[in-house]
Symmetry: D3
Subunit: 323 residues, 6 copies
């Protein structure tokens, strides 16, 4: 099986509306055209899908990050899985490079949902055989799926990017204590120390930040998995500057950028912001100092490995990105 | 069991965002306050729900027609069911007076979804024990649910309304042949004959209407389950007038009214339009000649019967509406 | 994949007792012998099955319409699926050209079953991976299945047959309003107008028929999906003759013919009766003016396409029947 | 909970067509009338059921041994469960005093079904919450059910009957080695030794019997769980007489009596035949020397215990039959 | 429902072998005797359970932390659930105050299991209706369960204990960065700052510790969810002392104490060690400076609330521990 | 398909800790190396598995009899299945040559588990697609599995061994009446008569044995499926010798040998003891007069047939063992 075996019918790639550019990158890197799927939204808001070509017996990968518009894209994904399943595909992999509702992953208050588990169940109930995601907010979400799948991490790409930059006196900073362990690991990859910005609510509503660890006079790289409203990351940058750091860099995988996040980051004075395109990097999100690592070629290699029954771990280790 | 037994904990009513007015009607008719559920939509569009009171062991009815915004309301319903289930409710009934995606109920073309079945599976997977709906587009959709439930029909309320009006020389007309059988039954309730407006595509794209049955000089009542864009019903009204009918009435259960439907109906010159409030009758939907039958008191009686283990059939037969 | 790929083991065809002649037609058209399955009914009525050859890893199609004896044939089908599954088949498709209990597809009265859903669940629980049927009474029944499958329609074969006959002044008639929409579509295929025979219960028990639409002096073709007792179709023929039509033709897919249906049709004076052999056309069912369209070669082509992962839609469009 | 608690709605008893007399016995013993269920078999053999009264929230026991006509009765049971489930019963217990297909409980040849497991799955899929049976052919069949249930044994009633008769010099004989262990236990209850009649195929097809153990000059009681065709039991009786025994008695729980079994038993010269009415004891089955132990009162007591949440084991131990 | 309703049969408490002392505490606090369950381990190591009293319809709580011997206790729990389910309990709650395999909660390396999800599935498959746990290693594990349940936190009891002690100049320290966020929250409860001990692998195998945050001259309280081998906590204590702290306290919920942990802690020179008895505090685990908070009375209150359908959140808020 | 087809990826063999020697035999006979799986048991007794090579898309056979240490080996098997499933294997077969808890296969007392069904469910829930076992204590246990599988019997190997020995005047003896039918069939294979040793409890606790059938002056071969503590078999040997038999032989498939069984058998004076290595034949189990039939080559042939989609029945019939 050195060269892999074709255990299902031919590969088929279908893109939902979530991130057509990423789907195109994957399609081009694989040399496999995107399957034609006609998606209609009727006047009554009902989504309707008709595949224009047969997928019978094929090994279908549906590429659909559940990014904005979130609830629409989730419904579109589920309906597309149902369509492909009833069209008698051989195997269906739901490729969700961004997985919404990942922060709703536990009951940390009474009477709240665990929506991430619900999402995982929905994907399986609709008929997916496998899932593929990139950097889930918590790795445990893998265990929410009853179907097998692959969670990939783009952090090795980010760390390699920064290793090549060779920034002197670098300290890696986690802006959220929930990310402390991953930040430590990321720092170890860069051979850098780690520090933390701690956020704490004092009394009723005012919130104060403090820095734990040595940062003065250093270049700092704030790392996180996702930038949503950008308040945490921008607040950390401001606080770090107060503490006398030199340049401030930011890197993260998921550029959600809701609620004026772009403006907030623009005003935070980062030297460079590095992220990936698990979500579309629309013109409104683009900042002059932003570097986007396009994940298409990388995801293409992994999809190819999954399709041909090759080791994904080996494929990842051997992957050489070009920035 | 003549007076019913309490087999679950106390009744709890929770309203989603779909139709809060209908939920209030039900709550008032039952004398049971609506349960406090805090629904938040974060900047990243994620829906978050927290119940403000315990529902442990309670017999919970979640009132949420999946009307506009359709995909949002579906997701809110599913997340609410998950919330209630994980909060250890005794029994959960998803009350969906309007059930979206009901027209996607079969594969009548290759490679299309059966989204109505998908919806039914989602509701069950999220954790509902029972469902309750009003006039599904096709009765077979009941069979899409693996959980038991009650499909109620508001047509007896509509036919009683018109019986009381005693319109002379009335002919019931179905504007869609898929509704032919139900129109015939509705006509029989009114002791009236039935006729049909047939729509046929000629050659490429022009569409012509023809009337099958005797309508000339009669008062006609066009009946359907739902008005979506209103083109079918308005078109039928115009065609019938060409055929020399007297007054034209319209009645239907579900007032979806997408894409300028209100204006289309306004211009079609109906003597009276009668519908129900399974969906909110927003100011934009309201027409001067429109009569809305409020289903709240009726649904309240049925929910009470289900809660107390009483016969729903008997409850429906004994129900006396007041218009 | 232009020529299809073998994604499962070799094709295996197994016939139950339902319609061995149809199974033979399929087997001959495919050039694949019927698998030897020994079916024994013990003195205690228990059905016992032993496959005489291995089906390990094979792509098995079990051909079993659930026609008379209905309950026996259903049980035989389920037990055969269990047998094939436990014998480690690669994939199992339940081919049910006639699907019994299809009229029990909704709760239109209180406290009745939805037996068609039950049947769909039984087939899946027994272990079928896919289903194949012909012209379900309601298309929605597809959605009762949790497994994927193909519902095929023999109406294109029937309409082609009548197009070739070129009967002048033809009107298509639906004898049951529940079939109105399908009759309209069938009429459109023939470029003919459509009319209806309406049945209505007056007062207690007498039932009267009326014709809606223009039929006087025309040749009429009554179309339906199934002839069960034949009373509806024979009654329509008598009524139409009273209305002064010329020749009366009948066509339908499923020849159930229970309770003297053959005699009823014989006395109804049809010019020609056209049906298919989804159920066995036993000598008692055969009438002198009956034309049977044998579905074996057609089903064979579809089974071959499913087995080889080819588009079923394309296969159907390219199929050229010879009558 | 000394007197039990009502944890479901009121008890409801529904009888299928399998054994209406037994259902009547249970109903009378409980003082609970049989629920009115209208069972119709249409001309096309489809079974249709409509409950005439509400079962909403009730604790329903459906009494239906799957005796002759076996496949019909199984289908009727499954459809009845579906009906009761969709009618929103509180709990459903399938009471199957005789469980067909119990001998198809393992793959002892290649490519055969395990139909007993299939039956158990069907009962659960249709919607039963619990099962109740009497003396399964193999106790392991309990484990085929994914739902909980009670397997009851009528052998203590049979042994008590014979203890009261005080037959001298009694030897208990198993006519089938698969029943050896149960026969030994039955013998121990009577304080009697045990012997076996062994059946062995010699060469091609002739079958010879031999007796293992001491029987000469003794009274013998042949015991088995079921008499189907009666050949085994009649053959054993003939062989035992050849070996010089005195009187020959027979006892068994299930009187299937297929294929002239009654005549075969009549000619075998038993002094007395004792059985139960898990299946209807029709006039054709009745023999002059037959004693039938009516299980209705006994089952009534157990159903009552299950309904009230009382110990079934205690109920059985305290039960005093009157013959 | 102010005083709660009894929606299931009476409460029944059953203890496995995992922590009989804790079960006894619960039983005493509730005034409900432990149900008699006879647990036998045969010579062939097979576990066999027989309940000595009926649990029919009862609301059963099985108390079994999956502590050492871990794999034995898991199997015993699963078999006990099966026993109780087949004995027709009304509802089954698996009370697992310590949940083994919780660290195997994600695939952070290729080709490893997610055993915590497997455990959750096992518990549900065996037949539990609900679960109850205390301080899961990761809150997300709640989402591994398809059944509802309650995860309780003993940290409020620990923080209240230390609030009452009023230790001056206290800094809370997380010895593991994965616990950083929870440590911060714990610190906030005590109004204390937080610091971290970071562990990093340098090059091949040597591991170095560093302290992030201000600790010099302070009293420190190291907090964690579990002490397994004790190396992390002991190492942190040594490192902190090197950094010039005053007294070192430790607190944690789960006292696993494998592989000489007790000795390691003894040598680490803690002023006081505070933990709970989710696992048995055997004589080998007991240290002179150890304070054990007994959870029995607290769990009893929660079990009572669950049984009576009362709010668990409210019960927890109103609970007043006495140390 | 004469030579079989490769329908899954390449064959992969993985051995758990249960019986590495048997796994090695299979591996050598197939010429397929054992897959490297690193199994770690942490200090806290948690089992951790990491596969050292990819199994993506492979046809994986996990070889793990659930022999001593029983509960450990079961857990290890389940965790290994989870590991392999999440590593995206193409198909997983759980090969359990010895299946623990098989005697817990029915509720023959109130309130006991059916652990064998629980085990079957666990194996399927963990993710196995198929099972393979050797001589289950009761064939019905096959029906406990919802997944398909193969139960193989080693008795034909044992009977062939004894046929080749040509022992004169041989009588086959069942030491347990539950094994009576299988013993009869085994005797028929050898052309020998059958006899039984009956065990009966008299009064309170003393247990007496009696022989049923002719054994005096004969050579006897006691046959059983498993030797656990060895008391039954040793007791039978003593009793038979009292009855004046000549040589006493023993054969059985599963050598569990708990609680000094080896010594018990050694003292029972068998001429020869023949068994298989479904469980490891450790030095403590080995007796001088013991012949072990190694099942590796035989299982290898069957695994190969399953992998290649060939008939297992034919493979078994054509197998020629060499002793």
């Amino acid at each position: 099986m050195e060269n892999g075996v074709k255990i299902y019918g031919e590969l088929a790639l279908i893109s939902g509306s979530g991130n057509p550019e990423l789907a195109r990158e994957i399609s081009e890197a694989l040399g496999v055209p995107l399957h034609k799927a006609k998606i209609t939204v009727f006047a009554n808001e009902n989504i309707f899908i008709q595949l224009q070509e047969s997928v019978r017996a094929r090994d279908v990968f549906i590429i659909q990050p559940t990014c904005s518009p979130v609830n629409y894209n989730i419904m579109e994904l589920l309906i597309m899985i149902d369509t492909v399943r009833r069209a008698s595909a051989g195997r269906i992999t739901a490729v969700m490079p961004f997985f919404a509702y990942a922060r709703s992953d536990k009951k940390d208050k009474p009477r709240v949902p665990i929506t991430a588990r619900l999402m995982a169940d929905m994907v399986a109930t609709a008929g997916a055989d496998r899932f593929m995601t990139v950097d889930l907010h918590a790795g445990q979400i893998q265990g929410f799926f009853s179907i097998p799948g692959d969670e990939l991490s783009a952090f090795p790409l980010l760390s390699q990017y920064f290793r090549e930059k060779q920034i002197p006196d670098l300290v890696v900073v986690a802006a959220d204590l929930g990310f402390a362990k991953k930040a430590r690991n990321f720092a170890a990859e860069l051979g850098a120390p780690v520090a933390f910005v701690e956020k704490r609510r004092d009394g009723s509503c005012t919130e104060s930040l403090s820095v734990i660890g040595e940062v003065k006079g250093k270049n700092v790289l704030i790392v996180d998995d996702e930038v949503d409203r950008g308040t945490t990351m921008a607040g950390a940058a401001h606080k770090l500057r107060q503490e006398g750091v030199k340049d401030v860099y930011a890197c993260f995988v998921h550029a959600t950028f809701s609620d004026n996040a772009a403006q907030r980051l623009a005003e935070a004075g980062f030297k460079e912001i590095v992220c990936t395109n698990t979500q579309p990097i629309t013109p409104e999100k683009r900042l002059p100092n932003m570097t986007v690592i396009h994940l298409g070629p990388w995801l293409a290699r992994i999809i190819d490995a999954v399709h041909r029954g090759l080791s994904v771990g080996k494929t990842l280790r051997e992957y050489k990105p070009s920035f």
